[in-house]
């Protein structure tokens, strides 16, 4: 096992990794930028090195700086966490070059899986179902129509250089194919200066379901079941759960085998995730492989009892997996909510400021992975995720109730958070029924705004009591009437257009 490793990350994931190291008796080196000098990961680590300038490219993304620190501190390994350099093959290579173990898969695998088209081709070889499509060079109408007919309808025409829905068409029947191809090409040409288009089968009622993989360096690969991650905003997950409400033992078995086949095909090592798209008829297709520990890994830990971060370290140290696939069981239900400093009523724009109070909920089977504390500054430099709140219960219904309980007791003040949004989402009838797709937020929460009933009377009373207890300032408003008792009876809220007390 390693004696000392460097954690090349910040926030909750750095904290998570350091704690795993502490349990295994591994010393840790934390790196931090100027704005993170009081951060929890810095408090926890055995050694801490300042990176200076908080700009990511100068700090947590600065490969030469980090490699130099790893060498100088005699770190034997580097854990990249997620984000930042976690899926950067050059970083993994740089570690290998100086004999420091990169705690993750090989640079080659990271590189291969980072190329979405190459990854798909590799998966086809492993007989893992991929979304039928055409990504070829023949771009004349006749060839595209021929390929399109092969794929079948509905299908998606999308710009190769695309993004943001530009140059994208959903085609429901053959007679509309030609005009859609031409339309997509025109739009793509004007938006991206390139009219190359791809064709892909259009997945209706899509769900995002992924499988957790652990693979050691001795050819043992296991999967740790699925995570349902359909609830996304701007293609980013915000609520994850396991098991998936639509999963059946047969489908789980099939998808689990496909995930293992995918990992074996690329000689995957360490922890990874195979992401699938699942359609309304429970057909599944490989989307991509994430070559790192996922943000949502705690729900798998809750339902399997397996510590993924510790296994990452053991695997990287060359140890063999001691868990057999046949011994793994999924028990109960777990949900994770990602708490962000953002305003869901305003396009999910990040909110920055000082956290005047942080008080996480505590209780049985509630896990709060966070990197925040009272008086912390939320800066614009990094991802605005504040915490991951995870609840675990015997079944989905109780797990939802527990999550509502926990969200309702999570005090984060000073910035706008998505807690009210998460609460409404979890309480939504369709969510409760498990009817979720990747379009869930667009379908039900598109123009969401917080119910603005104004300040509740309880808040007004509490504020008034607080202020009169702590504010010694004297009354300064001049009252019109001489009778000192009279105005007390007549003041109140007089703004038109909102209701008063309860």
């Amino acid at each position: 096992m390693f004696k000392k490793i460097l954690v090349a990350n910040r926030g909750e994931i750095a904290v998570r990794i350091i704690k795993a190291c502490q349990e295994l008796g591994i010393k840790t080196v934390a790196i931090y930028s100027n704005v993170d000098k009081n951060a929890p990961h810095v408090q926890l680590a055995d050694e801490t090195i300042n990176l200076g300038d908080p700009t990511p490219i100068e700090s947590y993304l600065n490969i030469p700086k980090i490699i130099k620190i790893a060498k100088e501190t005699n770190s034997e390994g580097i854990h990249p966490g997620y984000g930042f350099l976690a899926e950067n093959p050059d970083f993994a290579d740089s570690c290998n070059d100086i004999g420091i173990k990169f705690i993750g898969p090989s640079a080659d695998v990271i590189s291969l899986m980072g190329d979405k088209i190459a990854a798909k081709k590799t998966m086809e070889k492993a007989k893992v179902p991929v979304i039928p499509g055409y990504h070829g060079v023949k771009q004349d109408n006749a060839s595209l129509i021929k390929e399109g007919k092969k794929i079948g309808f509905p299908l998606l025409v999308k710009a190769a250089a695309g993004g943001g829905g530009k140059g994208m068409r959903i085609v429901h029947s053959e007679d509309l194919l030609e005009q859609s191809i031409e339309g997509a090409k025109r739009e793509s040409k004007s938006a991206f200066g390139n009219d190359t288009v791809f064709l892909e089968k259009y997945i209706e009622r899509p769900r995002h379901i992924e499988f957790q993989i652990l693979a050691d360096e001795h050819d043992n690969v296991i999967h740790l079941f699925e995570r349902e991650c359909s609830i996304q905003r701007r293609h980013q997950k915000i609520v994850e759960e396991t098991p998936s409400p639509i999963m059946t033992p047969q489908l789980r078995n099939k998808m689990g085998k496909a995930a293992i086949a995918a990992a074996k095909q690329v000689k995957y090592t360490n922890a990874g995730t195979v992401e699938f798209m699942v359609d309304g008829n429970l057909n599944f297709y490989f989307m991509e492989m994430n070559t790192r520990l996922q943000v949502e890994h705690p729900i798998t830990e809750a339902t399997t009892g397996i510590d993924l971060a510790k296994w990452q370290l053991r695997i990287a140290a060359g140890e063999k997996l001691t868990i057999k696939q046949s011994n793994l069981i999924q028990r109960g239900h777990a949900i994770e909510c990602r708490i962000y400093a953002e305003d869901p009523a305003n396009g999910f724009l990040p909110s920055i400021g000082t956290l005047t109070k942080v008080q996480p909920p505590k209780g049985p089977n509630i896990r709060d992975d966070s990197g925040i504390y009272t008086d912390m500054q939320v800066t614009p430099y990094y991802d605005p995720m504040l915490s991951k709140l995870v609840t675990y219960a015997e079944n989905r219904e109780e797990c939802i109730s527990k999550m509502i309980w926990a969200l309702s007791r999570y005090v984060i003040m000073g910035v706008t958070t998505n807690i009210p949004f998460l609460k409404e989402l979890i309480e939504h009838e369709e969510f409760k029924k498990g009817n979720i797709t990747t379009q869930f937020i667009d379908n039900y929460f598109k123009d969401w705004t917080e119910a603005k009933d104004g300040l509740p009377i309880d808040a007004i009373i509490a504020l008034a009591v607080f202020d009169s207890m702590h504010n010694k300032k004297q009354e300064i408003v001049r009252y019109k009437e001489a009778d000192p008792h009279s105005p007390w009876k007549h003041v109140g809220r007089w703004r038109v257009g909102s209701e008063g007390g309860k």
Partner: protein, 165 residues
């Protein structure tokens, strides 16, 4: 004590009185007698009013306060009409109305010279009067409201320029 809280562009007027060791909160013509208040940690309050229990957490930011009650966070700005902060702001020439109400008296007209602290306008809301005072020695360029006009919070009462400018 009389307090104004602003939340989402609404102003809430509350009065607090302490009589015989009890707090009396009056809001929206209703008086609430607070039977007991516990504050084990500053800002963490448990208030009992009859059989109603209010548990809240309050923190103070630079200009605003945050209150957590019944699972929700609300951001409020105490609207303090004559505090130093407000006076300072007014030195920058901010003569916006602190409240919505009725203009009961206009003390100046275009072209008048005023001294710092002179009352320019009186605005009434409910039974109270709010005085708009000159933030500095200056000259009145324009008076935007006349007596009996309705004025909304944030509307500029008077345009004033510093003497000699």
């Amino acid at each position: 004590m009389f307090i104004n809280y602003e939340h989402n562009n609404h102003v809430y007027n509350v009065t607090v009185e302490r009589r015989e060791n009890n707090y009396y909160i009056t809001y929206n013509n209703t008086e609430y007698k607070v039977n007991s208040v516990e504050e084990p940690v500053k800002g963490q309050l448990k208030i009992i009013i009859g059989d109603r229990v209010i548990k809240s957490v309050i923190t103070e930011g630079d200009k605003e306060k945050y209150i957590f009650v019944d699972g929700e966070v609300f951001k409020v700005k105490p609207v303090d009409l004559t505090s130093k902060k407000k006076t300072k702001k007014k030195e920058d020439g901010d003569l916006s109305s602190p409240i919505s109400g009725k203009v009961v008296s206009v003390k100046v007209k275009k072209g008048d010279s005023v001294k710092k602290g002179d009352v320019l306008m009186v605005i009434e809301a409910m039974k109270m009067e709010y005085l708009i005072r000159a933030p500095f020695k200056g000259k009145i360029n324009k008076v935007n409201f006349k007596e009996k006009d309705q004025i909304e919070i944030g509307q500029i009462t008077v345009d004033i320029s510093k003497k000699g400018e």
